[in-house]
Amino acid sequence: MKRSRLILRALVTLGGGVFLGGCLVDLYGGEPQIQIQVDSHRWMLESEGLGDTASPVWTVAFAPPIGAGAVTQVENLPVAGDLHLFLRLTDTLGRDTVVRDQLHAGVGEFQRLVLEDDTGGGVRIR
């Protein structure tokens, strides 16, 4: 067999391998997922979202709000990366607040966040 034909076959095989490898990347990739566990006894989770709180790109509302000891459903995020996450919270007196966090959500990754009271009387995401 001519050398050029051998080289051609090797290249075609290599190209096919790279193509297949790229397809497999997608199989274990996919949308990142998020789940939030509420451990705060003062605040309940009303909604979660990404982006600007005034005009969020993605948001999920909970009705009734998620209280202490409960977890949200696993939600698929529309994007991956270092994302601006916000949580809208409400307390038993009807006061509202917003907590922001920088969320790293890689392609295909699952994140479980815990909302808990801090010692200063506020709330934080762990």
Binding site: F19, G29, S55, V57, H84
Partner: protein, 334 residues
């Protein structure tokens, strides 16, 4: 006069889509007076996610880039005519996408679209071919509730002329001349010399690019390119430099006798960064990293890029070629 006013009203001055200057170069390389038509269909995508794209409200996104293109020129059906007219039309779209492989960008996405429309004409006897038309790139926005604009729309008037192996291409918009280049081109059709077929690989060009059309360093710049054969018709070297310095050096090799399978190695300096590039070509598919032509064509760099691309020119009903391809030595045809 009215036509000039309408054109003046339509033109915008803004950054062009990165692919368009390179696409004009492809036109000029591929089409000559006897060509019946030209077709370029492409799907290009990065194969690994990268986090280089900042969303105005979401943060720094991981994702992929993709480009899709359909572009063609078709001459009149009478192939024996000495004076021929034709039409050109094209569409290109793409941008950031969170998924891989033929998946349409989902929201929130950064999508751009551009189109071109033009007229072609050739005088076969003197070997003269010309094209002229409009190219328009839509504004680029992040979709979704944010809707932030990241690039203004852009329209330009472009022309490509070729007389035998000499060529000129130019584009202009409201701000005046955007780019212009004179070139000596290898003839894309095969030649016979001493009973042997060969494809000339020599090319040379010199021209000027306005800052917003300069894909290398963003300055107004004069630039020149030379491509010379190194080893028969299988290996060629190409060097490009501008008045502000070195741009690229590339060695291209065609492994098969028809020039469809090959490997290109390059070193380029783009926006002050040194980039080592490699591109592997097999029929319809290429895989590349930092290949200067792929970066120019699809604005994708820094990661492994695959492209599924069908690019060909018809010379008559029996003879077509992709750039670099020529008919088999015996029997002609494809």
């Amino acid at each position: 006069m009215l036509w000039i006013l309408l054109i003046g009203w339509a033109l915008h001055g803004s950054d062009p889509t990165p692919a368009w200057p390179q696409e004009l170069e492809d036109f000029q390389r591929g089409l000559h007076a006897k060509a019946l038509g030209y077709l370029d269909i492409a799907q290009v995508q990065t194969m690994d996610p990268n986090s280089t794209i900042a969303h105005p409200t979401l943060g720094q996104l991981d994702g992929f880039r993709e480009v899709r293109r359909v572009l063609g020129a078709m001459m009149g059906p009478d192939s024996s005519s000495m004076v021929r007219l034709g039409l050109e039309g094209g569409w290109e779209g793409g941008g950031w996408t969170p998924d891989l492989y033929l998946a349409g960008p989902t929201k929130p996405d950064l999508f751009h679209a551009a189109w071109s429309a033009g007229l072609c004409g050739s005088l076969v006897e003197p070997g003269l071919f010309g094209m002229a038309g409009l190219h328009h790139a839509d504004a680029m926005d992040w979709s979704g509730a944010g809707g932030n604009r990241v690039a203004a729309p852009e329209t330009d008037l472009w022309t490509v002329l070729r007389w035998k192996r000499a060529g000129v291409r130019a584009a202009t918009d409201r701000r005046g001349l955007a780019t212009s280049r004179l070139s000596f081109l290898s003839d894309p059709s095969p030649l016979i010399k001493d009973g042997k077929w060969f494809l000339p690989l020599a090319e040379a060009s010199v021209g000027w690019e306005r800052a917003d059309w300069n894909r290398w360093n963003g300055n107004d710049e004069w630039a020149g390119t030379v491509r010379v054969p190194l080893l028969a018709q299988r290996v060629s070297a190409r060097v490009e430099a501008g008045s502000d310095g070195f741009r690229l050096a590339q060695v291209s090799s065609d492994i098969d006798p028809q020039g469809e399978v090959g490997m290109d190695l390059s070193w380029s300096v783009r926006h002050g960064r040194d980039l080592a590039g490699i591109r592997m070509r097999i029929p319809f598919l290429t895989f590349s990293v930092n290949d200067p032509d792929d970066v120019d064509e699809f604005a994708v760099r820094g990661s492994l890029v695959w492209s599924m691309r069908l690019r060909m020119t018809w010379e008559d009903s029996q003879t077509w070629y992709a750039p670099g391809r020529r008919p088999a030595p015996i029997g002609g045809g494809s």
